[in-house]
């Protein structure tokens, strides 16, 4: 496509939408009289406008709109709640790990076999928890019917 043709192709959209300035419109209409390709494209674009003009987006039920603000605020509260909960949990967990490590795993008074056993038990529990949580989150995101009350 030459630069000249490209210029008119782009003006074509503006022409279809009535967005050209008078000088551009006159120039484009002059070109349109002689260009079969542009005539076809104008027709296609106008049809497209006509078809989309007769359509609208599907709305959601009115009760969803009525509860929209409540739902948004609840999500905000939940978000803040989770952040605070996570922060608290991290601090408590970090302290517990530290205390457990210092007072139990590094304590020579405790039998070595017990320390190894409990260490493995803790690791296994963490793996299981992470795996189940990830599976649950994945299943929840895939569930198309989560909004339906059973």
């Amino acid at each position: 496509m030459s630069l000249h043709e490209e210029k008119f192709s782009i003006l074509l959209s503006g022409y279809t939408d009535g967005e050209l300035i008078p000088e551009e419109k006159i120039e484009f209409e002059r070109h349109l009289k002689t260009c079969v390709q542009c005539q076809k494209e104008v027709q296609v674009f106008q049809q497209l406008k006509e078809v989309t003009g007769a359509m609208k987006y599907a709305d959601i039920p009115e009760h969803v709109w009525e509860n929209y603000w409540r739902g948004t605020y609840r999500r905000l509260e939940l978000g803040i709640g989770w952040i605070l909960f996570s922060l608290g949990a991290i601090i408590v967990l970090a302290f517990t790990c530290y205390a457990l490590f210092m007072n139990f795993f590094l304590n020579p008074a405790e039998p070595l076999i017990l320390r190894i056993g409990i260490g493995i038990l803790i690791l296994g529990t963490i793996f299981l928890l992470v795996s189940i949580t990830r599976e649950r989150i994945f299943a929840y995101r895939r569930d198309r019917y989560k909004e339906i009350q059973r």
Binding site: I10, L11, S13, T52, Y57, Y73
Partner: protein, 185 residues
């Protein structure tokens, strides 16, 4: 002056101070706009609802950083558009894991036009499939012009691109859409 009449930038300043009434007023003012913008981009009502609510939460959280010299809506629009992009990327990953998507129609025929309703209903289904196959940028500009009926100036302000770019992006997007509709018909 009631909260409903207050300017957006004042509402944002009040939200930054934690005012719940201002949050509610902003949500009530823009909830439908946010939902339909998201719906146009992701084509799924559940996802659109989710995204629109998340967009408001982002606004509440970053209200203190909002530049009051700027207009609120273009900022809000960019939040919605970014969330839609993220959602579509996640959907692509889900698709790769062969998960079915919501196939419900998001485009409906306008009831005010009963004569052409049947014919246009078929076209709506084709158009819906064609729109789903467009790139995010193409679908976005088609949605803004054809379904939100914004002027080139408004689109230009919203997408922060020159008016000439709006015209050219719209031209190429329409061309692709028309071609896809032809292939699907």
């Amino acid at each position: 002056m009631s909260v409903a009449q207050v300017d957006d930038s004042i509402l944002i300043a009040e939200i930054a101070e934690g005012d719940k009434k201002a949050m509610k007023a902003l949500v009530e003012r823009y909830k439908r706009k946010a939902f339909f913008l998201a719906l146009g981009m992701v084509g799924n009502r559940d996802e659109a609802l989710d995204i629109s609510q998340e967009a408001f939460i982002r606004v509440f959280k970053s209200a203190c950083r909002f530049d009051r010299d700027q207009k609120f809506f273009p900022w809000f629009y960019s939040i919605v558009a970014n969330l839609c992009k993220d959602s579509l990327q996640r959907r692509e990953k889900r698709d790769a894991r062969a998960i079915d998507l919501d196939e419900s129609d998001f485009l409906l025929v306008d009831d005010s036009n009963p004569e052409k309703k049947m014919m246009i209903k078929e076209q709506a289904q084709i158009l819906q499939k064609a729109l789903e196959q467009l790139s995010f940028e193409d679908r976005e500009i088609i949605m803004l012009k054809h379904f939100r009926d914004l002027s080139y100036d408004e689109i230009s302000r919203l997408l922060k691109i020159p008016k000439g770019t709006v015209m050219s992006r719209l031209y190429y997007a329409r061309k692709k859409l028309a071609k896809l509709c032809d292939e699907l018909a």
